[in-house]
Amino acid sequence: MSEHVLAIEDLTVTIGTRRGPARAVAGVDWSVRPGETLALVGESGSGKSMSVLAATGLAPRSARVTGRVRLLGTELTELPEARRRRLRGRHVGFVFQDPMTSLNPVLTVGRQVAEAGEEHLGLTRRAARSRAVELLDLVGIPSAAQRVDAYPHQFSGGMRQRVVIAMALICEPDLLIADEPTTALDVTTQAQIVELVADLQRRLGTAVVWITHDLGVVAGIADTVAVMYAGRILEQGPVDAVFGAPSHPYTSALLAARPDPAAGGGDLVTIAGAPPNPLDLPPGCAFWPRCPVRGDARCEHELPPLVPVSAGHQVRTFYPRRVDEEAQ
């Protein structure tokens, strides 16, 4: 038995598009242990969501997925689709970005929360329904026993996201995947949802993969972090190590671009340039064209390897930044 809940190795996802294959994820490794929170960080299109969807068998049909994925010690890539589906439903819960669209408009919320319980726990319809009421109550939906028969459009965005969380938790999953669950919500609600997930995680001991571009959230809740760019991991390690001593220019730039309330509302720093076209990725470091360090021809033509800088802390660059340089 592996001690990881979910571990992916050398995962590559190529998506067939009308204008040729687009490499969305390129040789990514990461893993998450029981009760631990892994944050996947990056801009849109960096492959952070795609790596998770592909690992759990939810990639679009046009995607070709290679690599190894172990969920609770079982190699998923060798399983027939039906077994992968059952494992996914039973052990992994998903919370997606936009609660306005991720709930089915014509089914009651109770039905949508309950159905995975019927499918995977063999609950009767009645038992699944009362379990759904418990969960709606657990995620903080007021008068859950009445609201269970309401339709999604009768809830606010924040409440809908709570419903989605209840839905993800019905089978008491070992792993919760939260794909930018707060992006579509207003700031106050965002904080409540983050709080809720963190609280549930403490009580239920669930491992969490939190996909986000909000570094503030990462610092608050994650144990480990992986920074992705153009389908590759550029830096990963314990949150304290990565945030305390960012060794990749991209990580530093991301951290610098973060609006810092303590700094009293200074100018927002942005990273110049745009991520590369996934249909036409450069041979060397994909960040090189935007890199403030801008090493040399080697960066342009040769892919830097992922090298360790401290315990569990790895970085993909020829020019890792030293901790002493980081002192301000």
Binding site: T56, L58, A82, R85, R86, L87, R88, G89, R90, V92, F94, F96, D98, T101, S102, L103, N104, P105, V106, L107, E115, A116, E119, H120, Y151, H153, Q154, V164, M167
Partner: protein, 314 residues
């Protein structure tokens, strides 16, 4: 919900009133004197005066319309210029033939279009999807009467399996009815099926790309459950409307098909009335069809509101 129904009812009533105006004005558009035109060579002063008076043509236009409307509301649509029989009776006599043809055709269409549309969306890009797209493109482009003629050629002429035309009432001889309805219903049904297939396919594809379908897949539900519970329910809500609109327009008489197959329905009645310049019958048939059309559309909207929980609260 009650307010929605009442509002829709009022809207339909206003449109129906407009329909009666149009139908009434049809007679006024006839160049010259419609009764004289209708009688043609059978003209004799006595019949002429009687028909004119009966149609109220000797009065001012507005009075004529108010009278027409008043009588129409009591079910009196005048008398035929040809036979002198009440138009309401004549039109209602033809309803069963049209109804049985339209319903059979729609059933036939639904049986083809639903499986084909659903499978072609789920297996998008597959062979069956391509076949479905060719079928629907051909179906919407083919003139149904041409297909009917080819059907007669093949099934009545070459194979000799089915009668080329004619009608037997369902209540008299179900087997005879079935053999007579098969060709016209298949002809109309194939065209309807192609419209439905296209619509179902695009509706399904739209729903399949919705986030909540990915949510359902993420839950590890079986494909069958995802499709039946999450995709179909949403995809079919608009499809119900289209099926009903198709049915309504078929009730309005597949004039050409009824003429081709000598099917004595509303469409054939309309055609005969046009040929005989029997304007009251033409008016009656058109009015009845438009009223049916409006009624079906009204029912569909109410059904739609029942199916989609988002509408009821508004």
């Amino acid at each position: 919900m009650a307010r929605f129904v009442i509002r829709r009812l009022l809207q339909s009533a206003v449109v129906l009133l407009g329909v009666t105006v149009v139908v009434f004005l049809l007679l006024q558009l006839v160049p010259g004197d419609p009764v004289r035109v209708a009688l043609g060579t059978r003209f004799d002063p006595q019949t002429y005066e009687a028909l004119r008076a009966r149609a109220g043509l000797d009065q001012p236009l507005v009075v004529q319309y108010v009278n027409y409307l008043g009588r129409a509301l009591t079910g009196d649509l005048g008398v035929s210029f040809r036979s002198g029989r009440p138009v309401t009776t004549i039109v209602l006599e033809r309803l069963p033939a049209t109804l049985s043809l339209a319903v059979t055709a729609v059933l036939f269409a639904v049986l083809i279009a639903f499986p084909l549309g659903i499978v072609s969306a789920i297996r998008s890009g597959s062979l069956i999807d391509h076949a479905a797209r060719v079928f629907s493109q051909v179906g919407v482009s083919v003139p149904d009467f041409w297909m009917g003629i080819m059907g007669i050629l093949l099934f009545a002429g070459v194979l000799g399996w089915l009668p080329p035309s004619g009608y037997v009432a369902l209540t008299e001889d179900p087997a005879g009815w079935a053999s007579h309805v098969a060709l016209p219903a298949a002809t109309v049904g194939l065209v309807t099926a192609s419209i439905l297939t296209r619509f179902i396919r695009s509706s399904m594809l739209e729903v399949l790309s919705e986030d909540y379908v990915r949510t359902a897949e993420a839950k590890g539900l079986r494909t069958r459950v995802v499709v039946l519970r999450h995709v179909l329910r949403n995809a079919l809500i608009p499809v119900v409307t289209v099926v009903a609109v198709q049915l309504a327009s078929l009730l309005g008489g597949v004039i050409v098909i009824e003429v081709l197959f000598a099917w004595p329905g509303i469409g054939r009645l309309t055609y005969d009335a046009v040929q005989a310049r029997d304007y009251p019958v033409l008016q009656g048939a058109v009015l009845l069809v438009a009223a049916l059309f409006l009624l079906v559309n009204l029912l569909v909207d109410i059904l739609y509101a029942r199916l989609d929980p988002r509408i009821t609260v508004k």
